[in-house]
């Protein structure tokens, strides 16, 4: 018996949207085996990871709090991935966005102007754009791989943050802890749901994803991004600028990541700390793929991935698992997703050797 792979001419929609579900199912199964292998009770550990985040009102609100930045960042990354622009430094763009936003908050510390939050939004987006502009410039000018430059800049951004919170921006009344002053009311996003941490930032993420969906499906820019990514030759004939697309997708992704960073410091954190995110910038890459590079899919994918973060936190408390165990789930999910994409692109046929041998004879008979 042999396996035969045939490229599909038409890709069935059911498979495109079904494979993420298959990938999630396989990830859960592998998690079960992994926990068993590690000598944990697999059932209860999985329960902590997957179900416990959904059990309380607080947990559900947290879901939105964590999904917000993931959706925001993944939306920007997805547009770049469509155009074959591999920005994997969103974590750094987020960090610089947070620094810029926090800079505004600290500069007007104690002021009560209604304009402080809007200014922080602008600053956050500008910071992320600035950081993303560096790989964009190096890519368009010198053809330096944006993969490596954007990633290296993430390490640099983290160190810039560390310098600020250990040095000039350290809270003068903070007993020498490496963190900034707590932002005053005017620089904090309003809470939407009493008794939880759900803040207005979640709606920014939702709005950005829907806007990006409109951009991708209903505008020439969206079409251009798709063509540049899928058929660079055709794009050149059509006069679509490759460099323009690199700039556009990196700046947009940078702005959204910067915004996510600003929302984190003005939302759940409320000050600048050395560790701003549990790796949102990297997880957003998985969210982008899980959402099929489609902003509406990304909203769902962001919620799914947020579960793994809260589950990871719960597992740290109740099962003494390191927080990084979340990464195992996230990595496996992306593996399975990429693997199951094969089913989308190829049709698998099982053939017995007898069948193959029989075929030519029939042809002979026909002639």
């Amino acid at each position: 018996m042999s396996l035969k792979f045939e490229p599909r001419r038409e890709i069935p929609k059911s498979l495109v949207y079904g494979t993420p579900l298959l990938a999630i199912a396989l990830t859960i199964l592998s998690g079960y085996l992994l926990f068993m292998f590690l000598g944990l009770n697999p059932g209860s550990t999985l329960y902590i990871f997957l179900v416990s985040p959904l059990e309380t009102r607080f947990g559900l609100a947290e879901l939105a709090v964590k999904a917000g930045p993931l959706i925001l960042i993944a939306t920007g990354l997805a547009i770049g991935f469509r155009a074959n622009v591999w920005n994997i430094g969103a974590e750094g763009q987020l960090t610089i966005g947070a620094i810029f936003g926090a800079g505004v908050a600290l500069a007007f510390w104690g002021d009560e102007g209604f304009w402080i939050l809007p200014l922080m939004f602008v600053a956050g987006a500008a910071g992320g754009m600035l950081w993303a502009a560096i790989p964009a410039f190096l890519k368009t000018k010198f053809e330096v791989s944006e993969i490596l430059t954007s990633l290296m800049l993430t390490y640099v951004a983290t160190l810039v943050l560390s310098i600020l919170v250990h040095g000039p921006w350290r809270d003068p009344e903070g007993f020498n802890f490496p963190q900034s002053r707590l932002f005053t009311e005017a620089a904090i996003l309003p809470i939407v749901l009493e008794g939880t941490r759900l803040h207005a930032g979640a709606f920014v993420a939702l709005f950005a994803a829907v806007a990006a969906w409109v951009l991708l499906t209903h505008t020439v820019t969206g079409f251009q991004v798709k063509v540049v990514g899928q058929a660079p030759m055709a794009a050149r004939f059509a006069g679509f600028s490759q460099k323009g697309t690199v700039w556009f997708s990196l700046l947009l992704a940078g702005a959204l990541a910067g915004l996510a960073g600003m929302i984190e410091v003005a939302g759940p954190i409320g000050q600048l700390t050395p560790q701003l995110t549990p790796g949102y910038g990297f997880t957003a890459i998985i969210v982008a793929f899980l959402g099929r590079l489609n902003p509406l899919g990304i909203i769902l994918a962001g919620l799914v991935m947020a579960i793994s973060y809260i589950g990871g936190e719960n597992a740290q408390v109740y099962a003494q698992l390191p927080q990084a165990a979340t990464g195992v789930f996230q990595g496996m999910l992306l593996f399975y997703l990429l693997a199951s994409d094969f089913l989308v692109r190829y049709r698998i046929r099982f053939r017995s050797a007898k069948h193959q041998a029989a075929k030519p004879r029939r042809e002979v008979a026909a002639t």
Binding site: F142, S145, I147, F282, T283, Q323, V328, Q330, L334, L338
Partner: protein
Amino acid sequence: MIDFLVLIAVSVVIAATPMLFAAVGELVVERSGVLNLGVEGMMLIGAVVGFGVTMTTGSAVLGIGSAALAGAALALVFGVLVLTLMANQVATGLALTIFGIGLSALIGAGFVGMPIAGLPKLDIPGVSDLPVVGPLLFQYDAMVYLSVALTLAVGWFLKRTHAGMVLRAVGESAESAHSIGHPVIRVRYLATLFGGAMAGLGGAFLSLSVTPMWAENMTSGRGWIALALVVFGSWRPGRVLLGAYIFGGVTILQLHAQGSGGLGFGLPGQVFTMLPYLATIVVLTIISAGPWRGRFQAPACLAQPFRPSV
């Protein structure tokens, strides 16, 4: 003064070795036309497995061997995805790193803060005790020599052997190599596994020799710098070796600059910690922008999936 310089030179070599292992492995992978961005993840798995096995069995040889196997095992996952299932290489490599960071932390949770005796330094009677030359050349542990030997072996393999020629052909033009009967996919699998084993060795050197301990995420970007070193070395082992030692130098420079209070500039220590990352960006830019641009091209089929048409 001489003693101090020797001390610096020795520390440069030690700082360079993990990156050298990983970069030479990735070089072979890329020469076969595959781009594996999961080096950081494979190094971490190598680091934790190498540490764990050495600690529990007491045998560093077993530890190092298991680290190589663990790296190769992770590379096999990558291989199945990108070679058999033709998944996107960039995305799969990233998944490998995210997975490796998480899995290594999970496995290593029980090892954090545990002490271990580092690899023993070589002690050859006669030569190791020579002044200057002794510490400079003959007092490292065995893995340092292994890294150099493997680099030379890879150089010889790629340039002088038939198998090496096939590997290069597969990377330059998978279609042509396939049409004259070379097993493209098999060659790429072997190269990928070799790259994984090398990254695993690099990780093990980190957790057994550089800082004999395990800490979450202890590679702190060395895997990515190794990827940049392959570009820096324009896909040639000799230049990758040189590049690794230069980057080892940058790493040591930043440590000393921090230790001496910012070299008198009063700069915060983090500025110096940035150096290796900034140097990577600068070096990549110079390589891509200089008059030599285009002379050291990447393998033509790098990161392109291949499926035999027959």
